[in-house]
Symmetry: C2
Subunit: 205 residues, 2 copies
Protein backbone atom coordinates (compact mmCIF):
# COMPACT_ATOMS: atom_id res chain seq x y z
CA UNK A 1 0.00 0.00 0.00
CA UNK A 2 1.51 3.31 -1.10
CA UNK A 3 -0.58 6.36 -0.25
CA UNK A 4 -0.14 10.13 -0.30
CA UNK A 5 -1.95 12.60 1.96
CA UNK A 6 -4.99 13.06 -0.25
CA UNK A 7 -5.38 9.31 -0.70
CA UNK A 8 -5.22 8.92 3.10
CA UNK A 9 -7.84 11.66 3.48
CA UNK A 10 -10.01 9.81 0.96
CA UNK A 11 -10.12 6.59 3.01
CA UNK A 12 -13.30 5.64 4.85
CA UNK A 13 -13.22 7.27 8.33
CA UNK A 14 -13.01 4.17 10.46
CA UNK A 15 -10.44 2.54 8.15
CA UNK A 16 -8.26 5.69 8.22
CA UNK A 17 -8.55 5.95 12.00
CA UNK A 18 -7.45 2.33 12.48
CA UNK A 19 -4.63 2.60 9.96
CA UNK A 20 -3.12 5.88 11.13
CA UNK A 21 -3.47 4.99 14.82
CA UNK A 22 -1.53 1.77 14.27
CA UNK A 23 1.32 3.08 12.08
CA UNK A 24 3.87 3.61 14.83
CA UNK A 25 3.63 -0.01 15.98
CA UNK A 26 3.55 -1.08 19.62
CA UNK A 27 3.14 1.77 22.11
CA UNK A 28 2.63 2.48 25.77
CA UNK A 29 -0.79 2.07 27.30
CA UNK A 30 -1.63 3.30 30.79
CA UNK A 31 -4.64 4.11 32.94
CA UNK A 32 -5.04 7.75 33.91
CA UNK A 33 -6.83 8.45 37.18
CA UNK A 34 -8.45 11.75 38.12
CA UNK A 35 -11.15 13.10 40.42
CA UNK A 36 -14.01 15.47 39.61
CA UNK A 37 -14.89 18.51 41.71
CA UNK A 38 -17.81 16.40 42.94
CA UNK A 39 -15.45 13.70 44.15
CA UNK A 40 -16.18 11.12 41.43
CA UNK A 41 -13.09 9.04 40.62
CA UNK A 42 -12.41 8.73 36.91
CA UNK A 43 -10.21 6.23 35.09
CA UNK A 44 -9.38 6.22 31.38
CA UNK A 45 -6.90 4.30 29.18
CA UNK A 46 -4.38 6.38 27.21
CA UNK A 47 -1.84 5.36 24.65
CA UNK A 48 -0.70 8.85 23.68
CA UNK A 49 1.50 9.11 26.77
CA UNK A 50 5.24 9.76 26.73
CA UNK A 51 8.36 10.62 28.65
CA UNK A 52 9.08 14.38 28.56
CA UNK A 53 12.10 14.61 30.84
CA UNK A 54 13.91 13.10 33.81
CA UNK A 55 15.20 16.27 35.51
CA UNK A 56 12.68 17.50 36.51
CA UNK A 57 10.67 14.25 36.11
CA UNK A 58 7.91 14.94 33.56
CA UNK A 59 5.40 12.99 31.49
CA UNK A 60 3.04 14.11 28.72
CA UNK A 61 -0.48 13.09 27.73
CA UNK A 62 -2.12 14.06 24.46
CA UNK A 63 -5.88 14.73 24.44
CA UNK A 64 -8.09 14.80 21.40
CA UNK A 65 -9.88 18.09 20.64
CA UNK A 66 -11.91 19.67 23.37
CA UNK A 67 -15.16 19.40 21.39
CA UNK A 68 -16.73 16.47 23.29
CA UNK A 69 -16.74 16.03 27.07
CA UNK A 70 -13.34 14.87 28.30
CA UNK A 71 -13.81 13.96 31.94
CA UNK A 72 -10.11 13.34 32.49
CA UNK A 73 -9.02 16.68 31.02
CA UNK A 74 -11.75 18.59 32.89
CA UNK A 75 -10.73 16.91 36.15
CA UNK A 76 -7.03 17.65 35.62
CA UNK A 77 -7.83 21.30 34.89
CA UNK A 78 -10.08 21.61 37.92
CA UNK A 79 -7.96 19.79 40.48
CA UNK A 80 -4.42 20.12 39.08
CA UNK A 81 -3.60 16.45 39.69
CA UNK A 82 -3.74 13.09 37.91
CA UNK A 83 -2.28 9.61 38.16
CA UNK A 84 -0.72 7.25 35.60
CA UNK A 85 -0.53 3.52 36.22
CA UNK A 86 0.65 0.50 34.33
CA UNK A 87 -1.87 -2.07 33.08
CA UNK A 88 -1.27 -5.78 33.67
CA UNK A 89 -2.16 -8.72 31.46
CA UNK A 90 -4.61 -9.99 34.08
CA UNK A 91 -6.91 -6.95 33.75
CA UNK A 92 -6.30 -5.30 30.37
CA UNK A 93 -9.89 -5.97 29.31
CA UNK A 94 -11.15 -3.95 32.30
CA UNK A 95 -8.66 -1.20 31.49
CA UNK A 96 -9.88 -1.06 27.86
CA UNK A 97 -13.48 -0.99 29.03
CA UNK A 98 -12.72 2.22 30.96
CA UNK A 99 -12.72 3.94 27.54
CA UNK A 100 -16.52 3.53 27.31
CA UNK A 101 -18.48 6.78 27.57
CA UNK A 102 -19.85 6.35 31.05
CA UNK A 103 -21.90 9.31 32.32
CA UNK A 104 -19.80 11.65 34.43
CA UNK A 105 -21.53 10.58 37.67
CA UNK A 106 -20.33 6.98 37.15
CA UNK A 107 -16.89 6.03 38.45
CA UNK A 108 -15.00 3.60 36.24
CA UNK A 109 -13.44 2.22 39.43
CA UNK A 110 -16.89 1.00 40.52
CA UNK A 111 -18.01 -0.05 37.05
CA UNK A 112 -14.82 -2.15 36.62
CA UNK A 113 -14.53 -3.24 40.25
CA UNK A 114 -11.02 -1.83 40.40
CA UNK A 115 -10.11 -0.73 43.91
CA UNK A 116 -8.98 2.91 44.24
CA UNK A 117 -6.13 3.93 46.52
CA UNK A 118 -5.52 7.47 47.70
CA UNK A 119 -2.80 9.18 49.71
CA UNK A 120 -2.92 12.18 52.01
CA UNK A 121 -2.21 15.39 50.17
CA UNK A 122 -2.76 13.90 46.72
CA UNK A 123 -6.26 14.36 45.31
CA UNK A 124 -6.24 11.97 42.35
CA UNK A 125 -6.93 8.23 42.83
CA UNK A 126 -4.59 5.36 41.97
CA UNK A 127 -5.52 1.80 40.99
CA UNK A 128 -4.54 -0.21 44.06
CA UNK A 129 -3.55 -3.30 42.06
CA UNK A 130 -1.28 -1.48 39.60
CA UNK A 131 2.41 -2.30 39.92
CA UNK A 132 3.60 1.12 38.76
CA UNK A 133 1.86 4.18 40.25
CA UNK A 134 2.78 7.69 39.21
CA UNK A 135 1.16 10.78 40.73
CA UNK A 136 1.52 14.02 38.76
CA UNK A 137 0.67 17.70 39.04
CA UNK A 138 -0.39 19.73 36.02
CA UNK A 139 2.48 21.98 34.91
CA UNK A 140 1.70 22.98 31.36
CA UNK A 141 -1.16 22.75 28.88
CA UNK A 142 -0.22 23.26 25.25
CA UNK A 143 -2.50 23.58 22.24
CA UNK A 144 -1.42 21.95 19.00
CA UNK A 145 -2.86 24.34 16.43
CA UNK A 146 -3.09 22.06 13.41
CA UNK A 147 -5.71 19.70 14.85
CA UNK A 148 -6.61 21.30 18.18
CA UNK A 149 -5.24 18.44 20.27
CA UNK A 150 -4.08 19.36 23.76
CA UNK A 151 -0.80 18.31 25.33
CA UNK A 152 -0.81 18.12 29.12
CA UNK A 153 2.59 18.02 30.80
CA UNK A 154 2.71 16.82 34.40
CA UNK A 155 5.47 16.69 36.98
CA UNK A 156 5.94 13.45 38.90
CA UNK A 157 5.13 14.18 42.54
CA UNK A 158 4.80 10.62 43.74
CA UNK A 159 6.28 7.41 42.39
CA UNK A 160 5.56 3.92 43.67
CA UNK A 161 7.23 0.96 41.97
CA UNK A 162 8.09 -2.56 43.20
CA UNK A 163 11.68 -2.65 44.56
CA UNK A 164 12.43 -5.95 42.88
CA UNK A 165 11.51 -4.57 39.43
CA UNK A 166 14.16 -1.82 39.61
CA UNK A 167 17.58 -2.88 38.34
CA UNK A 168 20.87 -1.67 39.80
CA UNK A 169 21.16 1.21 37.36
CA UNK A 170 17.59 2.45 37.94
CA UNK A 171 15.98 0.72 34.94
CA UNK A 172 12.42 -0.37 35.72
CA UNK A 173 12.14 -3.79 34.11
CA UNK A 174 8.77 -4.19 32.34
CA UNK A 175 9.15 -7.99 32.40
CA UNK A 176 9.01 -7.69 36.21
CA UNK A 177 6.13 -5.19 36.37
CA UNK A 178 4.20 -7.17 33.73
CA UNK A 179 3.40 -3.99 31.80
CA UNK A 180 1.76 -4.55 28.43
CA UNK A 181 1.85 -2.65 25.14
CA UNK A 182 -0.92 -1.59 22.76
CA UNK A 183 -1.25 -0.96 19.03
CA UNK A 184 -3.93 1.02 17.27
CA UNK A 185 -7.13 1.60 19.21
CA UNK A 186 -7.84 -1.86 20.56
CA UNK A 187 -4.97 -4.35 20.29
CA UNK A 188 -2.86 -5.49 23.27
CA UNK A 189 0.48 -7.30 23.61
CA UNK A 190 2.75 -8.86 26.19
CA UNK A 191 6.52 -8.72 25.72
CA UNK A 192 9.53 -10.94 25.04
CA UNK A 193 12.81 -9.40 26.07
CA UNK A 194 15.35 -9.19 23.25
CA UNK A 195 18.28 -7.34 24.89
CA UNK A 196 19.52 -4.30 26.71
CA UNK A 197 22.18 -2.65 24.58
CA UNK A 198 25.19 -0.58 25.57
CA UNK A 199 25.22 3.22 25.29
CA UNK A 200 26.09 3.72 21.62
CA UNK A 201 29.44 5.28 20.68
CA UNK A 202 30.65 5.90 17.12
CA UNK A 203 33.44 3.31 17.20
CA UNK A 204 31.44 0.47 18.76
CA UNK A 205 28.85 -1.88 17.32
CA UNK B 1 10.20 2.21 46.24
CA UNK B 2 8.08 5.23 47.16
CA UNK B 3 9.57 8.56 46.12
CA UNK B 4 8.43 12.17 45.99
CA UNK B 5 9.74 14.83 43.60
CA UNK B 6 12.63 15.97 45.75
CA UNK B 7 13.71 12.39 46.41
CA UNK B 8 13.65 11.77 42.64
CA UNK B 9 15.71 14.92 42.09
CA UNK B 10 18.19 13.65 44.69
CA UNK B 11 18.90 10.40 42.82
CA UNK B 12 22.22 9.97 41.02
CA UNK B 13 21.86 11.37 37.46
CA UNK B 14 22.21 8.16 35.49
CA UNK B 15 20.00 6.21 37.90
CA UNK B 16 17.28 8.89 37.68
CA UNK B 17 17.52 9.00 33.88
CA UNK B 18 17.13 5.21 33.60
CA UNK B 19 14.29 5.08 36.13
CA UNK B 20 12.19 7.96 34.79
CA UNK B 21 12.73 6.97 31.15
CA UNK B 22 11.42 3.47 31.88
CA UNK B 23 8.38 4.33 34.01
CA UNK B 24 5.80 4.24 31.25
CA UNK B 25 6.70 0.68 30.29
CA UNK B 26 7.01 -0.56 26.71
CA UNK B 27 6.89 2.18 24.07
CA UNK B 28 7.28 2.79 20.37
CA UNK B 29 10.72 2.94 18.85
CA UNK B 30 11.34 4.11 15.29
CA UNK B 31 14.15 5.36 13.08
CA UNK B 32 13.86 8.95 11.92
CA UNK B 33 15.51 9.80 8.61
CA UNK B 34 16.48 13.28 7.47
CA UNK B 35 18.89 15.00 5.11
CA UNK B 36 21.25 17.90 5.76
CA UNK B 37 21.56 20.94 3.49
CA UNK B 38 24.83 19.35 2.35
CA UNK B 39 23.03 16.19 1.29
CA UNK B 40 24.23 13.94 4.17
CA UNK B 41 21.57 11.37 5.08
CA UNK B 42 20.94 11.13 8.83
CA UNK B 43 19.24 8.37 10.79
CA UNK B 44 18.40 8.40 14.51
CA UNK B 45 16.32 6.17 16.81
CA UNK B 46 13.46 7.83 18.69
CA UNK B 47 11.12 6.49 21.32
CA UNK B 48 9.36 9.76 22.11
CA UNK B 49 7.16 9.44 19.02
CA UNK B 50 3.37 9.38 19.06
CA UNK B 51 0.14 9.53 17.10
CA UNK B 52 -1.26 13.09 16.98
CA UNK B 53 -4.28 12.63 14.72
CA UNK B 54 -5.76 10.65 11.83
CA UNK B 55 -7.61 13.43 9.98
CA UNK B 56 -5.36 15.05 8.90
CA UNK B 57 -2.77 12.28 9.46
CA UNK B 58 -0.20 13.59 11.96
CA UNK B 59 2.62 12.25 14.12
CA UNK B 60 4.71 13.95 16.81
CA UNK B 61 8.36 13.66 17.84
CA UNK B 62 9.78 15.10 21.04
CA UNK B 63 13.34 16.47 21.00
CA UNK B 64 15.52 17.13 24.02
CA UNK B 65 16.62 20.73 24.60
CA UNK B 66 18.32 22.51 21.78
CA UNK B 67 21.58 22.98 23.73
CA UNK B 68 23.66 20.30 21.99
CA UNK B 69 23.79 19.65 18.23
CA UNK B 70 20.68 17.81 17.08
CA UNK B 71 21.31 16.80 13.50
CA UNK B 72 17.79 15.46 13.02
CA UNK B 73 16.10 18.61 14.31
CA UNK B 74 18.42 20.88 12.33
CA UNK B 75 17.74 18.88 9.17
CA UNK B 76 13.97 18.94 9.68
CA UNK B 77 14.06 22.71 10.20
CA UNK B 78 16.23 23.28 7.14
CA UNK B 79 14.49 20.95 4.69
CA UNK B 80 10.95 20.68 6.09
CA UNK B 81 10.83 16.90 5.69
CA UNK B 82 11.60 13.73 7.64
CA UNK B 83 10.82 10.02 7.60
CA UNK B 84 9.73 7.57 10.27
CA UNK B 85 10.24 3.85 9.86
CA UNK B 86 9.64 0.75 11.92
CA UNK B 87 12.58 -1.24 13.30
CA UNK B 88 12.69 -5.02 12.91
CA UNK B 89 14.09 -7.62 15.27
CA UNK B 90 16.78 -8.54 12.70
CA UNK B 91 18.46 -5.10 12.85
CA UNK B 92 17.52 -3.41 16.14
CA UNK B 93 21.19 -3.36 17.22
CA UNK B 94 22.06 -1.30 14.12
CA UNK B 95 19.10 0.99 14.80
CA UNK B 96 20.25 1.53 18.39
CA UNK B 97 23.79 2.22 17.21
CA UNK B 98 22.45 5.13 15.11
CA UNK B 99 22.11 7.00 18.45
CA UNK B 100 25.92 7.33 18.67
CA UNK B 101 27.23 10.87 18.21
CA UNK B 102 28.68 10.52 14.74
CA UNK B 103 30.14 13.74 13.31
CA UNK B 104 27.65 15.52 11.07
CA UNK B 105 29.55 14.61 7.89
CA UNK B 106 29.05 10.88 8.61
CA UNK B 107 25.85 9.25 7.38
CA UNK B 108 24.45 6.62 9.76
CA UNK B 109 23.19 4.80 6.65
CA UNK B 110 26.79 4.19 5.59
CA UNK B 111 28.08 3.56 9.11
CA UNK B 112 25.35 0.93 9.68
CA UNK B 113 25.27 -0.41 6.11
CA UNK B 114 21.57 0.32 5.91
CA UNK B 115 20.47 1.06 2.36
CA UNK B 116 18.70 4.38 1.84
CA UNK B 117 15.71 4.75 -0.47
CA UNK B 118 14.45 8.04 -1.84
CA UNK B 119 11.46 9.10 -3.90
CA UNK B 120 11.03 11.94 -6.38
CA UNK B 121 9.71 15.05 -4.70
CA UNK B 122 10.52 13.88 -1.18
CA UNK B 123 13.88 15.06 0.18
CA UNK B 124 14.29 12.86 3.25
CA UNK B 125 15.67 9.30 2.96
CA UNK B 126 13.92 6.09 4.00
CA UNK B 127 15.49 2.83 5.16
CA UNK B 128 14.91 0.51 2.21
CA UNK B 129 14.51 -2.61 4.38
CA UNK B 130 11.92 -1.11 6.75
CA UNK B 131 8.45 -2.63 6.50
CA UNK B 132 6.64 0.57 7.48
CA UNK B 133 7.79 3.81 5.82
CA UNK B 134 6.21 7.15 6.68
CA UNK B 135 7.24 10.40 4.98
CA UNK B 136 6.26 13.61 6.78
CA UNK B 137 6.41 17.36 6.29
CA UNK B 138 7.05 19.71 9.21
CA UNK B 139 3.82 21.44 10.21
CA UNK B 140 4.37 22.76 13.71
CA UNK B 141 7.20 23.19 16.17
CA UNK B 142 6.18 23.73 19.77
CA UNK B 143 8.35 24.63 22.75
CA UNK B 144 7.57 23.00 26.07
CA UNK B 145 8.52 25.73 28.50
CA UNK B 146 9.16 23.71 31.65
CA UNK B 147 12.18 21.81 30.32
CA UNK B 148 12.80 23.37 26.90
CA UNK B 149 11.99 20.19 24.97
CA UNK B 150 10.70 20.69 21.45
CA UNK B 151 7.68 18.97 19.95
CA UNK B 152 7.74 18.58 16.18
CA UNK B 153 4.43 17.76 14.51
CA UNK B 154 4.55 16.36 11.00
CA UNK B 155 1.88 15.59 8.43
CA UNK B 156 2.02 12.22 6.70
CA UNK B 157 2.71 12.90 3.01
CA UNK B 158 3.70 9.39 2.01
CA UNK B 159 2.84 6.05 3.54
CA UNK B 160 4.22 2.70 2.44
CA UNK B 161 3.11 -0.44 4.29
CA UNK B 162 2.94 -4.11 3.26
CA UNK B 163 -0.55 -4.93 1.93
CA UNK B 164 -0.68 -8.24 3.76
CA UNK B 165 -0.06 -6.53 7.14
CA UNK B 166 -3.18 -4.33 6.84
CA UNK B 167 -6.34 -5.94 8.18
CA UNK B 168 -9.81 -5.46 6.68
CA UNK B 169 -10.64 -2.55 8.96
CA UNK B 170 -7.37 -0.71 8.29
CA UNK B 171 -5.46 -1.94 11.37
CA UNK B 172 -1.75 -2.38 10.62
CA UNK B 173 -0.86 -5.60 12.42
CA UNK B 174 2.53 -5.26 14.19
CA UNK B 175 2.87 -9.08 14.33
CA UNK B 176 2.96 -8.94 10.51
CA UNK B 177 5.33 -5.97 10.21
CA UNK B 178 7.58 -7.40 12.93
CA UNK B 179 7.76 -4.05 14.69
CA UNK B 180 9.46 -4.11 18.08
CA UNK B 181 9.00 -2.08 21.27
CA UNK B 182 11.51 -0.40 23.57
CA UNK B 183 11.70 0.49 27.26
CA UNK B 184 13.95 3.03 28.90
CA UNK B 185 17.00 4.09 26.92
CA UNK B 186 18.35 0.76 25.75
CA UNK B 187 16.00 -2.22 26.16
CA UNK B 188 14.15 -3.89 23.27
CA UNK B 189 11.21 -6.31 23.04
CA UNK B 190 9.29 -8.40 20.56
CA UNK B 191 5.55 -8.93 21.05
CA UNK B 192 3.02 -11.64 21.86
CA UNK B 193 -0.49 -10.80 20.78
CA UNK B 194 -3.05 -10.92 23.58
CA UNK B 195 -6.26 -9.74 21.84
CA UNK B 196 -8.03 -7.09 19.87
CA UNK B 197 -10.96 -5.86 21.92
CA UNK B 198 -14.31 -4.44 20.82
CA UNK B 199 -15.03 -0.71 20.89
CA UNK B 200 -16.00 -0.20 24.53
CA UNK B 201 -19.58 0.76 25.40
CA UNK B 202 -20.91 1.32 28.94
CA UNK B 203 -23.18 -1.75 29.00
CA UNK B 204 -20.67 -4.24 27.59
CA UNK B 205 -17.72 -6.00 29.15
Amino acid sequence: MNLNTSEILGLEDRYRRNLINSLLGPKSVVLVGSVSVNGIYNLAPFSQVFHVGANPPLAGLLFRPDSVPRHTLTNIRNTGFFTIQSIAEAWFAEAHQCSARYPKEVSEFEAMQLEPETFDGFAAPFVKNAKVKIGLSLKEEINIAINKTILVVGMIEKLIVPDDAVEEDGFLNPMETGAIAAAGLDSYYSLNHLARLKYAKPHLL
